[in-house]
Every structure is written in C-alpha cells, then in structure tokens.
C-alpha cells in the first residue's frame, strides 16, 4: 500500500514535470523541470529494485546531460525570452497524435498477458552485471568507447569557434 503511494508520488512527479517541460514558455524553466522529471524517473528505478540504474540516472541525466542542456540554452540565449512564440502551427495536430498514441498504448498494454515471474532480485546482481558486461557484451562495450570517442571529437570540432 505504501509502495503504491510512493509509486503514485514519483510517477506524478515525473509526468507532471514532463508536461511542464513541453508546455512552459520559458525554455530555461523547461530545462529545470526536465531535472525534476528525471529525478522522478530515478525514483521509479528505485521502486523497480534497480538502485544502480537509479544512481546512474542521477549521475548522468540529472548531473551531466541537464548541465549540458542548460549551457546550450545560455549559449543560444537570445531566444530564451518568453515573448518568443515557443509552439509551431502544428502543435494542435501534434497534441492529437500524442494523445491518440497514448490511448493506443494503454489499450494494448491492457490486452497483453505478461508472463510475470515472482522472484526476488539476487543479492549480487551488480556483480552479475559486471561479469556479463565483460564476458557476453564485450563487443558492444568496446564499441561504446568508440561511440563516445566519436561524439567527443565530433562535438569539439563542431562547437569550437574558428580561431586562427
């Protein structure tokens, strides 16, 4: 019962803040609401007994990516004032599409019978995660390093100002 209440709290936090992200007129405030939404999602991970993923969520999304977004907004700040129109002409159609997709998803989620298993998460599952990452998923792991390298080099080349 308490668990359900906590779930409601976190999901209300995530969904409410996400609504604020997409509807707020001031893009800077949207970015701050994005932080709240991401924290709510981290709470959901805790409820799913994935504490490592929850910490990673706080570390990467809340700590790093939102900082990056805030810096990008400050660098392009001329468009931040609330007088600027933030929605395009097709916003109403977009809203209908989004609501329609939501209804379809909710209906289809209710239709499927998920083969839920009632087992606890093993105590040492982080150990298991490390082992699998090093044994079964070595190639994706190393490719991730190449991806991050490409992102780092590419973003520096693109974002740097041409001096000299």
């Amino acid at each position: 019962m308490v668990l359900q209440a906590v779930f409601m709290l976190f999901s209300a936090m995530a969904v409410g803040a996400a609504l604020a992200v997409v509807t707020n007129k001031n893009i800077f405030h949207s970015a701050l609401f994005l932080v709240v939404a991401l924290l709510g999602v981290a709470g959901l991970y805790v409820l799913l007994e994935a504490p490592f993923i929850a910490v990673v969520q706080v570390l990467i999304y809340v700590g790093a990516i939102s900082t990056l977004i805030l810096f990008a907004i400050m660098l392009t700040r001329r468009l931040m004032d609330a007088s600027e129109r933030q929605r395009n002409e097709q916003w109403f159609i977009s809203a209908i599409v989004a609501v329609g997709l939501f209804i379809v998803l909710v209906l289809s989620v209710g239709q499927v019978h998920w083969p839920v298993v009632h087992t606890d998460v093993p105590e040492n599952h982080l150990n298991r995660l490390g082992q699998d990452l090093m044994e079964h998923y070595v190639l994706p792991f190393e490719v991730t390093a190449v991806l991050l390298l490409a992102a780092l080099v590419g973003a520096i080349v693109i974002a740097r100002e041409r001096t000299r």
Partner: protein, 118 residues
C-alpha cells in the same frame, strides 16, 4: 530491501524543508525597514550594466561536454570494479582498451585547445 530507502526519503524531505525553514525564520525575525537604496540591485557595489542573461562563452559547453563523456565512462567502470575479483586478466585488458580509446579523445581535446580557458 526497499525499507532501506526510508532513510534516504526522510533525508530528502528534511533537506527540502531546510532552506524554506531558514528563509521563514529569517523572514519572521528580521527588522523590516525597506528603502529604495537598500532594495536596489547591485553587483560588487556597482550598478549592474545590461541584463543578467549575458552571452556565455563556448568554453563552458566544451568543459561540460568532456565531463559528460567521462561521466558515462565512470558508469561503465563501476560494475567492472564490483566484479573485479571474479573476473580474470582479460577483464583488465578489456578495460584498458576501453580507457585507452577514451584517453585518446581526451588527448585530442587537449591538443585542440578545448581545455584552454581563453
């Protein structure tokens, strides 16, 4: 298992109340004698020039970018460190390759002057 998080929840609630309590107490006990000079906006004793939303330098973004990349790297380091004792030498080699690739990126950023503050 989940009951361990009660303390974190309590901590978060207290941490959220703390700044509000501080402001509320100082609001209640402070003397209220506002005058136009006192409520003026100031910056290091000077009148502020222009608005607060000044243009930031792209250097801020480059630092944040490098931080993000190495933040993601540390996330992959953690499960490896936890499972280190049950893994063989090959895991160490794999992690060295992983780190070597990313250190190459750091050296590139350094050479390109992305770490220099101009």
């Amino acid at each position: 298992m989940l009951s361990d998080y009660v303390f974190i929840g309590l901590f978060a609630i207290v941490a959220a109340i703390f700044p509000f309590a501080g402001f509320a107490v100082s609001y209640l006990v402070r003397p209220k004698r506002p005058d136009p000079v006192k409520s003026d906006v100031y910056e290091c004793g000077m009148k502020p020039i222009g608005e607060a939303w000044v243009q930031f330098k792209v250097q801020y973004y480059l630092y944040a970018l490098i931080f993000v990349i190495f933040d993601v790297m540390s996330v992959f380091l953690f499960p490896w460190a936890v499972a280190y004792h049950t893994l063989g030498l090959y895991a160490l080699v794999e992690m060295c390759i992983f780190l070597g690739i990313l250190v190459g990126g750091l050296i590139y950023a350094w050479r390109k002057g992305a770490l220099r503050w101009v």
